[in-house]
């Protein structure tokens, strides 16, 4: 009897699936047909250490190409699962599941997690969360539908990720100037009210329609504010009342969008008036360095959980959280060459993991997106106050 098999549509560096010497693809349990990006873009990084027999390597910026290859594999091989971890692969994976009647997140559900406009329409209909005012931006005249007396607005791609294709505008004239340079055809943009507040994220594992795990953190900086020499990061939240409120929103949102099995990454604003306002949610694991933070705090890899759920395999989510709390600080490229924390300082600073990101930056001194880090440090501490102190010290010592 042949083993179960899955198609894995991958847009990460292949080395993304190895951590601390462990490889998280379940190759001992299933056969995997890998579709990955060019070697130049990391699609085969570390492949020699963890080879797979069935591989397709192609230009993954070309979705038609990707679709052709995935469809061919599914037409002619006994594959009954589709795995996707990267945001840009999730929708195609769902399309393939629907096209070939395979289990897992279907196309309609994936669209609700991917299209920021459709997502908010569903949540508004369900009354699942407080939402910023929003509207489709399919033509310049749509700008007139917004109430400009309320101040700043955000124009962003309905399908964007990592805070790319995002524009802040304060007046109708500014908005008109922005959209003059955008291609509004194809229903790709939306406009919404800017919400002033701290950004939180809630990361979940959903099994058989139940939220089996959720973790709440807050960013150290606005993801849209990435810039050369800047920093980003997150710290886990342990305020019980805030945790309860955010988890309640998370439950309502995921219920309204209808996820059955998978991981999610929800972002929300907490205003100065202590109101929680939904921002967006993705039907995939959190990006950046949040998975290592979750692993250090809760003892399981949330990326591996997504892979195993997509593959139809049981997941183990670890037990109770470890003591203390956890977070990370990341440094974008730019800002100087004399940088870094010597390894001998890690213990004193509470650094439990340093991640040196290869290929960071756009090669011209710029930062490409909100998770385009050069160095990241995962930090543990006894409590939230000590964690922020340690993050501050890491930030100070990083610049030598």
């Amino acid at each position: 009897m042949s083993r179960p098999a899955a198609l894995f549509i991958n847009k990460h560096h292949y080395s993304h699936f190895s951590r601390g010497g462990a490889h998280i693809l379940p190759t001992s349990e299933i056969d995997i047909h890998l579709v990955t990006r060019y070697r130049a873009h990391g699609g085969l990084d570390g492949f020699a250490d963890h080879p797979l027999p069935q591989v397709a390597v192609c230009e993954t910026e070309d979705f038609d190409r990707w679709r052709d290859i995935c469809s061919w594999i599914l037409r002619h091989h006994p594959v009954d699962r589709v795995i996707a971890v990267h945001e840009r692969a999730v929708l195609l994976a769902a399309e393939m599941r629907s096209k070939f009647s395979l289990p897992g997140m279907d196309y309609e559900t994936a669209v609700r997690f991917r299209d920021k406009l459709r997502m908010k329409e569903v949540l508004r209909e369900a009354g699942a969360a407080a939402l910023p005012g929003f509207a489709a931006l399919d033509r310049p005249a749509d700008l007139e539908r917004m109430d400009w007396s309320t101040g700043r607005k955000v124009i962003k791609s309905r399908w964007g990720l990592a805070a790319r294709d995002l524009y802040m505008v304060d007046t109708l004239d500014q908005a008109r100037a922005v959209v003059a340079d955008l291609d509004l055809s194809g229903s790709h943009y939306e406009i919404e009210e800017f919400v002033k507040g701290r950004i939180y994220h809630c990361d979940s594992v959903v099994v058989d329609g139940r939220i089996e795990f959720s973790s709440v953190g807050t960013y150290l900086a606005d993801p849209a504010g990435y810039e050369p020499g800047g920093i980003f990061g997150t710290v886990l939240v342990d305020d019980p009342d805030l945790l309860r409120r955010i988890r309640a929103m998370n439950t309502a949102v995921l219920g309204a969008l209808g996820l059955r099995d998978g991981t999610t990454h929800l972002e929300l604003f907490r205003t100065d008036a202590d109101e929680l306002v939904f921002c967006e949610v993705a039907g995939r694991p959190p990006g950046g360095v949040i998975p290592p933070v979750i692993q250090w705090q809760y003892g399981f890899n949330i990326v591996e959980a997504q892979i195993r759920l997509d593959a139809g395999l049981p997941v183990t989510l670890g037990t109770a959280p470890t003591s203390g709390t956890c977070g990370f600080i990341a440094f974008y490229p730019g800002g100087g060459e004399a940088r870094g924390i010597p390894a001998e300082r890690f213990d004193a600073l509470g650094v439990v993991e340093h991640i040196a990101h290869h290929g960071a930056g756009n090669g011209r001194g710029g930062v490409r997106h909100s998770t385009d880090f050069l160095d990241s440090y995962v930090i543990k501490a006894p409590d939230g106050g000590a964690l922020l102190d340690r993050i501050t010290r890491v930030r100070e010592e990083y610049w030598q």
């Binding site: 060019y38 070697r39 085969l44 492949f47 390597v57 190409r65 052709d68 061919w72 002619h76």
Partner: protein, 264 residues
Amino acid sequence: MVGTDTPGGTVGRTLVLIDATVPVARAAHGLGCRVALVQRPGAPVHELAEDHTDYYSVDFGPDPSAHAPDTAAHATTAGPAAFADFVQSVLRPLDPWAVLSLTGAGALPAATAAALLGAVGAPVGAVRALAAAGDPEVAAGELVLRAHTFTVDGDHRWIAAVPEGRPAMPPEHLLPERVLPPEEHRAALAALTGLLDAAALPAGPALVRLAVRDGRARVLTAAHGTGTDDENDLIRRLTGFDLTDHSLRWPFGAPAGTDREAGR
């Protein structure tokens, strides 16, 4: 376009290479064209693929030109229909200029793909005719030679004769006219030419195993393709003729230059 040698160079064109070894893939990447590799599952993609190589694992089956429907035997592999679908849905969008293979196992899949795509490649009929030729039984006292030929515009050249089962020899011992006495050389050359003419191979390499004895020569087996990488390297070093390079370049009308005129 099948089987023709079309000038124009490699830049901006796509070469699909089936069942490549690492040295052959490396040579293909040196041509300056886009390269797509089609390999059996389990091939070392990390050694074969370069920065922008398209790469596909395909179990291309025993005879992908048959276009037969999938059968139970192919339940877990890509059978003939699957291969044809692969060619049409995955390779065609690459708009390949040529589809080649230098191995016996890849020759028929490559020819089939070239025919389906209208790309440059060996004709399916020629590849089949070569594969069906000969009687592999070796009689006592027969000298077995691995004859390497290269064809340009239907003109077959005998590049090297490697006696089977013997260690590497001085250069002259790979030159067909030095390996064999005149009478047997003429007989062997006639056998090769007859075979390649009958197969109507218009271009590219062939590897023919010949049995020679008492002034007579006969074909044991034949295939469109070259020998092993070690064998090709030996031939290149001892005769100056780079079979790998010529076998990859001929579809682009830009042969690397023949260092030695051999044959006919």
